[in-house]
Amino acid sequence: MILALLIVPALAGLAAFALPGAALRRGLLLVTALAHAALTAACWKWTPAPALGGWLKLDAAGLLFLSIISVLFLAAAFYAMGYLVQEANKHTTDIEEGFLFDNAPETVFIGCLLLFLAAMSLVTVSQHFGLLWVAIEATTLTSAPLIYFHKHHRSLEATWKYLLICSVGIALALLANFFLGIAATQPGVDAYPLVLSELVAHARDLQVPWLKAACLLFFVGYGTKMGLAPLHTWLPDAHSEAPSVVSALLSGAVLNCAFLGLLRAQQVCVAAGLGNFGRDVWIALGLTSLVIGAVFILGQTDYKRLLAYSSVENMGIMAVGVGLGSAGAFGALFHAVNHSLAKAMLFLLSGNILARYRTKTIAQVKGLLGAAPATGLLWVAGFLAITGTPPFGTFTSKLLILKAAFDTGQPWGMWVGVVFLGLLAVIFIGMTTAFLGMAQGEPEKPIGPGRDRVWQIAPPVVLGLLVLWLGLAVPESLDNVLREIARTLGGAT
Amino acid sequence: MNAISFIPLLLALTLSPLLLGVINRTKAFFAGRHGQPLLQTYFDLWKLLQKGAVYSRTTTWLFRAGPMIGLAAALTATLLMPLGKCPASLAFPADFLLFAGLLGLMRFFTVVAALDTGSSFEGMGASREVFFSALTEPALFVALATLVRETGQLSLSTMFGQVSNAHWLHSGPALGLVVLALMIVLLAENSRIPVDDPNTHLELTMIHEVMVLDHGGPDLAFIFYSAALKLWLLSALVVGIVLPGTGDPRLNLLLAVGAVFGVAVIVGVIESVMARLRLMIVPQLLVGAGALAATAFLLALKLN
């Protein structure tokens, strides 16, 4: 079953390059997304058997992130169906500078999208650190052509930065793998394989200096990909220039893949009794990300960049959560689910707004509720969801992290909690000005014709409802999975 | 101090002008010419010593002192330099510092004498000379420091006495880098291609030659002779590291003299196959030599 999860999208991706006919390819995209979602759902019911001698195994963390990816991809695939039809005409006028540009061939787009899904699935099921690295690098490489869908200079710039910064970061993560390999050697004994379960089982035997160095390099490497400040510089560019569908996947799925990579490293650290060492780094990076997010959200003029910085901020929230030990990690993982759903919803909606208003400037979008009621309403709902207003799930998850901070009962925990809360308040103010200004008022200039179509509305609605549902009631199976992951991340504080 | 230890000194004093002849013959061979006699430098020196000197009225005693102090410094440095396994006349711990210092003193007085003339050409040459030597000196020092580290000896004579095949087997890469760096230092210090062209006739492109334009007669002979000694000294430095020792001291000495002339041939070959570098590029080459020496030093540090 694990192999099916990987092979289905990979084969479909390769087939997409060969298939003739646009309709057939789009059909393939949707069918693959549905098949992947079905397989993932089946994984909740029946635990799949490990494959490749234990290198591929779906543990609790893998299952959680696989589900996020699968749901987002299904929503994105559905949205992409309509999006690709709309974008099918070859020459498009650039909305900012008015020149003509082409889109990349749809074959490449769909093919890379499916391979991208395969790479992300591989990330979630890899138990071997080397394989995990290969998979995370593969997500970078398969998503780079997606960012360059609109063939113009800004998207090219974003692609180049994304490729270079992430590749360099991930090369350092490879070095971290080798450090981990040295940490696992023993004088006179065969070294332990770099499989998560083996490392956790023998964690006490690992060489501490190498393990610490490996952890730091993992933070630099996967932290770059995850968008933790100050390593986030590629993120706003890539998210704002990619097509909205791709932005949704980048923000909701790719960042989580890197987060998973870091969690795996943290699991080993915790098992080796180095939880406190990792804790400081997590909290420092997390708070830095929150500060950077807050600074750039205030006074942001571009709503897609606003959403991108909001991703930096939310990654910071998760990092702080993991740094707070078991209870905080529970909140952080729950927040990862909520954030992915809410952020994907917002990015898809931003695609709607972009298509209608043909601008990314916040100040030029006015009267969204009047001009496009469905998109407008969802936009406001999405804003409430992402800022963590009750009754959305994000409220619960942020509250859990805050509670974990105060529950540490130590002065530093209090300070982390206070700073955390203060930054969230600043971000809330920044987001409110931007979002409500867009939703209310009268449109200043005539906007594009037509009403919102089903493909534009249905995926965000579903994603929004999911966040709402998670805020009202957490299903028991999800709760169990979250608890199990949080248990492996405990031991700190 | 015994009679044997004067042999390197005597060989240097007598044979060093021959090195220039060898270089010239090598270049002539590559160019397909017959070339000047091997002993041409001796003839030149003899001729110059016969002549009187003309001194400009704008110069002071510094101008006259320059060549003499330069020669004195070169002679003193020769006292310190062993030849292969044969120790130098004078050896004491850290004598390589004095050696480098004497080379510096020599350059300083050449530069001061050049500036004393007040000629703009000579000032330009002096500026270049000082700039380039500021870049070669670190390379020289770091290379010597590497040797100290490798052999554990503080004097040039014992240092070269120590270098053996075992050293090359054990830390060949570091020693190889040192030799490479010292070769570049040798080319730069002796104003050879690719740093400077000793045969150029255009003052604007000269470095070393332009500084001695105003000297004549015995002064010029002193300058030529000290330049020849300097070439011998740096060649002996390279040879001391490269040459493996044999059991027989006489054979050692013969090998060392041969190797010094071998270095001269190599210099001739380099001059034949390379063009002079643009002045802008020269600092890069010299810093590169420093980088090589520093790399060698780090490698030596790590290995021991």
Partner: protein
């Protein structure tokens, strides 16, 4: 042992040469030479246990880093008609000096970590770390997209040196995956360079500056 050392010294020298080099063409050649030299590393560093795995790794590395990448980069440069000068932010002499300082720092860093016993040469770890930092330095100090790709390759070579020489138990599957990933990365970067050139008429990344806050 001595063979490994010579390879490592060559790696250091190629890195220094790269830092002081002003031509795109010669830089590509130097990186190619470094790739070939590193291809021999798995065989020499594990001379006592020659296996198909190391032989395969060597062949793959030489083919990829010594032949395919240079060919591909030369092609990208030729198609993009890049001027041959590299145009650094940091001058060549300063770069060289920085390189030597980085080398010193790398040696110092490696005295702080306990090395495994069965390591082929004491220089392996410092040289690997030197390559990594030199690669990073090249990426941030050079304008041309091609030079940045070369910097990335040097960085990757450093990681590879460390992996082959120091880390014991990487497996064939992972090594193949790593090589494949690097291959695709360079491939995608090369294509991007081509597009950058077509879009901007140059490949100076310092003019990629329309996206900022």
């Amino acid at each position: 042992m001595q063979g490994t050392n010579i390879i490592l010294v060559l790696v250091v020298l190629t890195n220094l040469k790269l830092l002081g080099s002003s031509r795109v063409g010669s830089s590509i050649r130097v990186v190619a030479a470094q790739g070939v030299v590193l291809g021999l590393l798995p065989i020499l560093a594990h001379a006592h246990e020659i296996s198909w795995r190391y032989a395969g790794l060597a062949v793959g590395t030489v083919a990829l880093k010594g032949i395919v990448f240079p060919w591909f980069l030369f092609r990208a440069v030729r198609e993009a008609e890049v001027a041959r000068e590299i145009e650094p932010f940091v001058g060549y002499v300063a770069s060289l000096l920085a390189g030597v300082s980085i080398l010193a720092v790398s040696f110092w860093m490696c005295t702080r970590l306990p090395m495994p016993e069965a390591i082929a040469s004491a220089w392996l770890a410092p040289v690997a770390i030197f390559s990594i930092f030199a690669g990073l330095f090249l990426i941030v100090s050079r304008k041309r997209a091609v030079s940045q790709v070369l910097g990335f390759l040097v960085l990757e070579n450093g990681v590879y040196t460390f992996g082959v020489g120091v880390a014991p138990q990487a497996s064939l599957l992972v090594e193949a995956g790593v090589l494949l990933d690097v291959f695709v990365a360079v491939f995608v970067m090369g294509i991007t360079i081509f597009h950058i050139n077509r879009e901007f008429d140059h490949i100076d990344t310092d003019r990629l500056s329309s996206l900022k806050d």
